[in-house]
């Protein structure tokens, strides 16, 4: 057995601790919701036993896109808006890797919007975390497409002009959508469960996470944080588990079958109360990497064979 194989076995058997997934010290602001997302991710990696060297966090640019630096896995902190196509390239080349994507509301829904639409359609097996703080954090407070109308920012000093874009309804409008959920940073337990469900779904799992940015829009989610009744917990046997403890706090619950896309679209269309849980799941949608036969072994002989077969066609002399 080669050293490499031995080593892989060794790792496969190992149990990991939370610390094994902790990278650099997070440099987000105090109270930033990204911290809760990071914690949930580290916990997920540990609980699902993901091998750090087989796990890649891909991101664009933004506060949220710093997350990979704080994991002790492989990470790819890319360029603004392009996390998804980078992640797709990774997954197609190496379906054996666990791929997570961290992206912001600007990163995903503005500059990256074309990739977003198409990533849903490709339905590759990866988990996408939309850190939706309704603002541009890293560039210091400009309106994002998810900013509610009237948001005062540096580029909209008299308030933003348009109704917010709902990442949920847009996602649900795309063919091949296979998993859509919504979570909030301030209910860590539900966040963790939703992310776990997303990770376990084989396909493109899109989780919009409402994320607080105390630095620039401190009051954005306060009414909901402080009033559990303005949260709407989606419940269903096929949905995620809402613990008894949470059930007591969040009593506003709605049974919703994640298989029902029409209902999912309706639920997604309203944002007060904030629905939390799985809006839609369809495990039947095939993954692009499977359709394309990704990850096939490719030997020198295969290359030689294919090349020679082609050259045969074009050889003029001697034939």
């Amino acid at each position: 057995m080669s050293a490499a194989t031995l080593c892989l076995q060794h790792f496969a058997e190992e149990n990991h601790a939370l610390e094994d997934y902790q990278g650099g010290v997070p440099r987000w602001c105090k109270g930033c919701g990204d911290n809760a997302i990071l914690a949930a991710m580290q916990r997920l990696c540990r609980d699902e036993g993901l091998r750090p060297e087989k796990t890649v966090f891909v991101s664009g640019i933004g506060c949220s896109s710093r997350l990979p630096h704080y994991m002790r896995t492989y990470g790819f902190h890319g360029i603004h808006g392009r996390a998804l196509p980078i992640a797709e390239g990774i997954k197609l080349a190496r379906p054996d890797l666990h791929v997570f994507v961290n992206t912001g509301d600007g990163d995903c829904c503005n500059i990256g919007a074309a990739h977003w639409i198409h990533a849903i359609r490709y339905n590759m097996n990866m988990t996408v975390l939309l850190h939706d703080n309704h603002i541009y954090g890293l560039t210091k407070k400009q309106a994002s497409p998810t900013s509610p109308i009237g948001t005062r920012s540096n580029t909209t000093p008299r308030g933003s002009y348009l109704d917010a874009l709902s990442p949920l309804t847009v996602t649900l409008g795309v063919q091949n959508v296979s998993f859509v959920a919504q979570a909030v940073d301030w209910i860590p337990e539900s966040l963790f469960h939703i992310l776990t469900a997303a990770y376990r779904h084989r396909g493109f799992s899109f989780v919009r996470i409402l994320q607080r940015c105390p630095e620039f829009v401190g009051n954005m989610f306060e009414p909901w944080v402080h009033d559990p009744q303005r949260m709407l917990m989606l419940t269903h046997a096929d949905g995620i588990r809402v613990s008894p403890a949470l059930q007591k706090i969040y009593r506003n619950q709605l049974p919703h079958d994640p298989a029902d896309i029409n209902r999912a679209r309706e639920i997604a269309s309203s944002d007060d109360p904030i629905p939390v849980g799985i809006l839609y799941r369809n495990p039947e949608v095939p993954c692009y990497e499977d359709l394309r036969g990704a990850g096939k072994l490719r030997t020198a002989d295969q290359v030689r064979g294919a090349l020679d077969a082609e050259l045969d066609k074009f050889t003029v002399w001697p034939q």
Binding site: K54, T73, H77, I86, A93, A300, E310, L311, W317
Partner: protein, 641 residues
Amino acid sequence: MNAVSPLPARAHAARKGSVAPVAKHLQTLDQHVIEIMSDSGEGAQKCGQSFGSIAARTGNGVWTVEIIPAEIQPPARSVAGASGNRIRIGSHQITNGGDEADIAVAFNEQVLLGRVNAGELKPGCIVLLENMWAEHDDAKIAGQYAETRDRLVAEGYRVYEVPMETECRALVPDPRKGKNMFVLGMLCNIYSLDMNLARDQIAFIFGKKDAKVISSNVALLEAGWQWAESNLDFKYRVPAVKATVPQVVINGNTAVALGVLASGMDICAMYPITPATSASHYLSDVFERAGGIVHQAEDEIAACAFAIGASYTGKVAVTITSGPGYSLKQEGLGLAVMAEIPLVVVNVQRGGPSTGQPTKVEQGDLLTVMFGSHGDAPKVVMAPGTIEDCFYSMITARRLAETFNMVVVVLSDASLATAQQPFPRPQFSTEWLAPPVDQNPVPDGVKPYDWDPVTGLSRRFVPGQPNGMHTLTGLAHDRNSRVAYDPEINEQGMRARSMKLATLQKILTPPPVFGDREGELLVVGWGGTKGAIEEAVARLRGEGHRVSSTHLTFLQPMQPGIGEILRGFRQVITVEGNWADDPNDPLIDESNRRYPALAMLLRSRYLVDVDCWTEVRGRPIKPGTVYAELRGRLAHLETSR
């Protein structure tokens, strides 16, 4: 038969079936250029390519170029609608499409006119013209035909009217589908080619169809041969030297695609764009069989990012595009440079700027690929000069990308993309492939960017390798790949990325000089103009002029030894297919003249007063044009001695 007046040929057509022998002039030729034009869909392409293949099998040098109409379905019988092939054959290796055509075959007079107007036919050139239009029901059409024919005759072309339709109708119900093989037969007769080879060729191209199709096409072929034998008063022989090693005939884009396959790359991410797409078409067809995948992305930015993601995981990926797509990839390429992810990018240049001339030839993107991404983003830039180069440069590019963890751009162009030329059949070697993706644990203490203090090189490690976990970033970073804004670290990273180019440059060899290493005039070229330049130089050298040329394969870094070469000549000019201001323009002087890309780079590096001659006429630069330009310069130099 009187070639000047069109009448006798028509008379022949009337005397169908009678095979009175004609007096033949058998002429031995060094080279000849043939054009075959039809409305699109009439098969002139297939005819031309088959003719090229037969000539190549015979052992002739061959270069074929597609004549492509700008529209998808141009109106029938329209000047802009010429679709077809230009074939140049020779008794020696042929490296370019040549000058004006010696023989033009046309399925109608309008497509012919297009080529006449474009100045593509030699004065006095032989014209073989389908004569069915002469008696067309539509008087307007008949009139157009007569008018054009008479004009051509008046202008001195040797017009032969050929009853293609009539002859073919005798053999097939729909002559429109058969004329091209009839013409092929004519050409085989004219150029004294072996009809057995021609029959084999037909069997090959219709191989998948049934025997009836093949035999009816062979009948058309033979009819064409017979018609020419009986009716034409000329015949040529282009001596051939059979190659000793197997030869393949493919175009530049197919060569790129096969090069991708042969290089061991297995992911190609692309977005369609003319004239690059046919490379991806071909790959889409053949790649999967060897485990490769062509991913058509939602746009070029995604294609670039996708390829970067794929490359990041251990094997080099490729993205193929043309000018506008390249412009869109600029930001993504900067990321690959910064994060030192190897990547191969093919830019099949077309006419610019903007949407420009999508199907036309230009070399306008050299500076774009060198400097287009913001900040200092050093990449390797290569330019194949021949079809064969197109193939091998992909293998080299993959290896350089991997060795140096760099972006390697291969600059092809529309002239190479669709031109075909025989070259020795590549013999696959496992060395063309990269070693398998390393998944071994990273030894302790090794850092993701352990830049070698001299070369700037570092080993990269990839997902799956235990102990190698790190986060790659497009931000300035230290050896651990940690974001760092420290002035020293920033300088170190910049230096490392730049030094990799110097390191590569040290292992390159000087470009060969075509001709003597000293003389009056040196021509420097790059990319698809190689054949035309060398042909012009060879001709002038044959006439006793002290002119040489050198052709650069690497544009960044530039090969060593170029300065010495330049200094061996009294005058140096570049010949390029891109824009340069004309010093004779009233407003132009040395303080504002805009030089073309290569001249600018050479002037800057070597402080030699490199002049230039360029053309942006949307078509391949002709050897004769270069010849005339160089001869003028030489005359001036020789008298001013």
